[in-house]
């Protein structure tokens, strides 16, 4: 009896509990922080908890949310895609050019935007998988090219006034809910089902977890990686449709910084930059967290410049979290 008492001294027990709590904090910290933040903002800012403001929060993050779904796929498969914001802009430029200057109907515009996403995504995926180039540099290159094409196509100008049906996508309501919010939520649901319930989803996790083991297990690693980039391109194009129609305009600077907001949301949501881990529920919380922070800063009247500082801080904290999570997992 004496030895069993000594085997579990109170100090060791407390230490273990402490370590357990650190683990929980690292695993579920995002959710707790999100709830705490919402509570804090609700208490300090009376306008926060109004239906119109909450709807506005969702509307503000709808396009970034759609982008983040695609980025989650890429990151789980150990890649990174920084070209998403540029795809948003290039898609918009192409679609608006067709509808505005070419006088094409709205569906041609939509199809053209999706085509842009498909093409850029395929280039990203092909170079990152079949050619074995580092995806960060590949997508940095396509980002730059796409931005250049945007300025070429638009001659640096903005365009306003699009076909009414196209406008309806971004400005319409489904009951009380803005259609962009519906699109975002549907995107998350579909993305989640693909990731968690399909063969392809399982292959994405396997490739991210250990590409060599996945290859030996007969999974076509290159093809899987390629598809994640294609998905990322397509989701970015969808975001481009949402944003363009909501603004009822094209502007050359559209989508600037979306890559970092999306990556931040994904990592805040617990998807590991080291690959193989994460899910879209987390990404959704990450997106909402960013939306609430932006909203709170706006409500409190903080300048846009400081908002960038805050966003950078969030990314820093998220990556720190990810790294700590990894370290603790290894030491157990």
């Amino acid at each position: 009896m004496e030895s069993s008492v000594a085997a579990v001294p109170p100090v060791g027990w407390a230490k273990r509990l402490g370590r357990r709590m650190v683990q929980y904090a690292l695993n579920y910290g995002t959710y707790l922080i999100f709830l705490a933040l919402c509570a804090a903002v609700a208490v300090t800012t009376p306008n926060f908890l109004t239906a119109s403001n909450l709807s506005n929060v969702l509307l503000q993050v709808a396009d970034i949310g759609v982008v983040a779904v695609g980025v989650t796929f890429v990151i789980i498969a150990r890649g990174i895609d920084v070209s998403v914001g540029a795809i948003v802009a290039l898609g918009s430029a192409a679609g608006v050019a067709a509808m505005k200057s070419g006088g094409e109907p709205w569906y041609v515009g939509v199809a053209l935007i999706l085509l842009v996403g498909l093409i850029v995504g395929t280039i990203n995926g092909f170079a990152s998988s079949k050619l074995g180039m580092p995806s960060f540099l590949v997508t940095l290159a396509t980002l730059t090219m796409a931005r250049g094409l945007v300025l070429t196509l638009s001659e640096g100008r903005s365009y306003y006034g699009l076909p009414p049906i196209f406008q309806g996508i971004g400005l319409g309501l489904l009951g009380p809910v803005p259609i962009p919010v519906v699109i975002m939520l549907v995107t998350f649901v579909i993305g989640h089902l693909i990731l968690s319930r399909t063969v392809f989803g399982r292959q994405v996790y396997a490739v991210g977890g250990n590409p060599e083991a996945a290859r030996v297990s007969g999974i076509r690693v290159e093809r899987t990686i390629l598809l994640t980039f294609v998905l990322s391109g397509l989701f970015s194009a969808l975001a481009s449709i949402v944003l363009t129609s909501r603004l009822d305009a094209f502007a050359p600077s559209m989508g600037t910084g979306y890559e970092f907001s999306a990556i931040a949301a994904v990592v805040i949501g617990g998807t590991s930059l080291y690959g193989g881990q994460g899910n879209l529920v987390g990404t959704l919380v990450g997106v909402l967290l960013i939306g609430v922070i932006n909203n709170a800063l706006n409500l409190m009247g903080v300048s846009a410049y400081y908002q960038d500082v805050a966003r950078g801080g969030i990314i820093f904290a998220a990556v720190l979290f990810d790294t700590l999570r990894k370290r603790y997992a290894v030491n157990v």
């Binding site: 399909t198 989803g201 977890g209 076509r220």
Partner: protein, 521 residues
């Protein structure tokens, strides 16, 4: 020679036990060490004394607590209870750097070198000689490196050579050279021979003995009991986190040691029975790839266990990789059931009913941060999905649980991460993954590497059952006893060619070993 389970092959060196350990002082003492992890008592009141200038063997099955004990000594894990005494001083080893400062060095299975740097820099990385402050004095560095390299039998290596260009055995000796430079007094070797050739093992052993003569204490962890008998002065046996016994090696024999490790006797060895061999399943003709495979031809039959043995670099693993589509041969043809096939990638091979347990399970066999279920279904995802690719989660779970029960994978839940399983259980997960693909041809590359004796036995039984069910098995191994015990036919490979084929009563440890090492012996 450290190979071979037959008495005639063990050349016990008397030289190994010339020094009597009784008059030596303890350099490291562990007293009453206990460590508990969630759900398992990894170490329970373990005591161990390492004397100055002794080679101390540490043996036990996987999960016996060896790894945890090494982590305690290395400062990676803090014990819940117990004392550590280094050279008479009570210490708390806070981290690996602290262990190094105390003169404790580790050589692990996985090498800890900088493959991109030259040999000399690797050896002196902690204190590079400088001419002007901040500027490396390369002439001195290489001179000193040459001296140290000579001490570990690597005179022929140019210190300016990049470590990546050395063979694994040479790399390991470079690591030992680094320990020498860092004034190591306690050297811990964890399965150091798993990727070495026979000759490299001999060199390693003579260097370890040389170190002992210089007063270095060695803690030697190995699954290969022959090595323990050849090399060690004393041996400590762990089982289920407890110390079973510590005794001079001359006081025990192999069966006694195995009994201590297992708590029961090992089943007697039986050779594979050749009577069930059926028609030709696989025919390989003139397979060549660069210099690693040259005109390899053979046949595999249903129900046959075909052993392939050869030293590292003989082409055994390259052959497996070509058959499985991981590498492409330059020429040659492969027939399965009489039909010529082309395997461009592993998925083609799997479709044809080929399974492949790779030699490196952590790098190529498993995704250790995923669950057991995820790993078990990884090679057969389609069979757990509807036509449109929708996964049936229930089917996956049921399959994983069935495999867990059949293969006796020790885990409370199939939703556990593979990382937390012992090596033997991890290997069972790899096997389960391939069983789910229902292979007709099973390529096993070193299937029992780094696995404890008990699990080895279970795997041997499973391999024989697979063959009895009509599968054709290619068993690649560098362990002579394993090949001799299981194979119906043995192909010996050397320098990319099949040099000998042994059948039936021709297969003996002596014949296999001789054919493997060739005329060198």
């Amino acid at each position: 020679m450290p190979v071979g389970g037959q008495p005639g092959l063990i050349t016990r060196s008397d030289h190994a036990r010339e020094a009597s350990p009784s008059d030596q002082s303890p350099v490291l003492e562990l007293a009453g060490i206990s460590k508990r992890f969630p759900g398992v008592q990894a170490l329970d009141d373990v005591s161990l004394t390492l004397l100055r200038g002794e080679i101390h063997g540490l043996v036990g099955e996987n999960g016996a607590g060896k790894s945890t004990l090494l982590k305690v000594i290395g400062g990676v894990v803090q014990p819940d209870q117990g004392k550590l005494i280094v050279r008479g001083h009570h210490v708390r080893i806070s981290d690996p750097l602290h262990a190094q400062r105390l003169g404790i060095a580790f050589i692990h299975q996985e090498l800890a070198l900088f493959p991109n740097l030259d040999v000399a820099s690797n050896i002196f990385i902690a204190e590079l000689p400088r001419s002007v402050p901040g500027v490396v004095d390369f002439a001195t560095l290489r001179d000193r490196a040459r001296t140290v390299l000579a001490r570990v039998g690597l005179e022929h290596i140019d210190p300016a050579q990049r470590v990546a260009s050395l063979r694994p055995g040479e790399q390991q000796l470079v690591e030992i050279a680094r320990c020498l430079v860092q004034r190591t007094e306690i050297l811990v070797l964890d399965e150091p021979t798993s990727s070495l050739t026979e000759r490299e093992i001999e060199t390693l052993f003579s260097i370890i003995r040389e170190l002992r003569a210089q007063g270095v204490s060695v803690l030697y962890v190995s699954h290969r009991l022959d090595e323990v008998f050849e090399l060690c002065d004393r041996v400590t046996v762990l089982r289920d986190g407890r110390r079973v016994d510590t005794c001079p090696i001359v006081a025990v024999d192999r069966p006694a040691l195995v009994r201590m490790m297992l708590g029961h006797d090992l089943a007697p060895r039986t050779r594979g029975v050749a009577s069930t061999i059926g028609p030709t399943l696989l025919r390989v003709e003139g397979l060549s790839r660069g210099r690693v495979l040259q005109n390899v031809s053979f046949e595999l039959h249903r129900g046959e266990i075909l052993g392939i043995i050869g030293v590292l670099g003989s082409g055994r693993t390259e052959l497996a990789r070509c058959l499985f589509g991981l590498d492409q041969p330059d020429s040659g043809k492969v027939e399965i059931d009489g039909v010529e096939v082309r395997v461009r990638q592993p998925s083609d091979a799997i479709q044809l009913g080929v399974g492949f347990i790779t030699e490196d399970r952590r790098a190529e066999g498993l995704s250790v941060d995923d669950t057991i279920v995820d790993n078990v279904v990884m090679a057969s995802l389609r069979t757990f999905a509807t036509k449109v690719g929708w996964m049936r989660r229930g089917g996956e779970l049921a399959a994983a649980e069935r495999q867990r029960d059949q293969l006796r994978i020790a885990t409370p839940s199939v939703l556990r991460l593979v990382r937390y399983l012992s090596g033997g259980n991890q290997q069972k997960v790899v096997l389960a993954k391939w069983l789910e693909t229902k292979p007709r041809i099973f390529i096993l590359d070193e299937p029992t590497r780094g696995i404890d004796v008990g699990t080895k036995e279970e795997l041997y039984t499973l391999i024989q059952e697979l063959a009895a069910d009509g599968a054709g098995i290619i068993l690649i191994s560098s362990e002579v006893p394993e090949i001799v015990r299981l194979a119906d036919r043995v192909l010996v490979m050397r320098a990319g060619r099949i040099v000998t084929e042994l059948r039936g009563s021709d297969i003996s440890p002596q014949s296999v070993l001789l054919a493997t090492v060739g005329g060198v012996h």
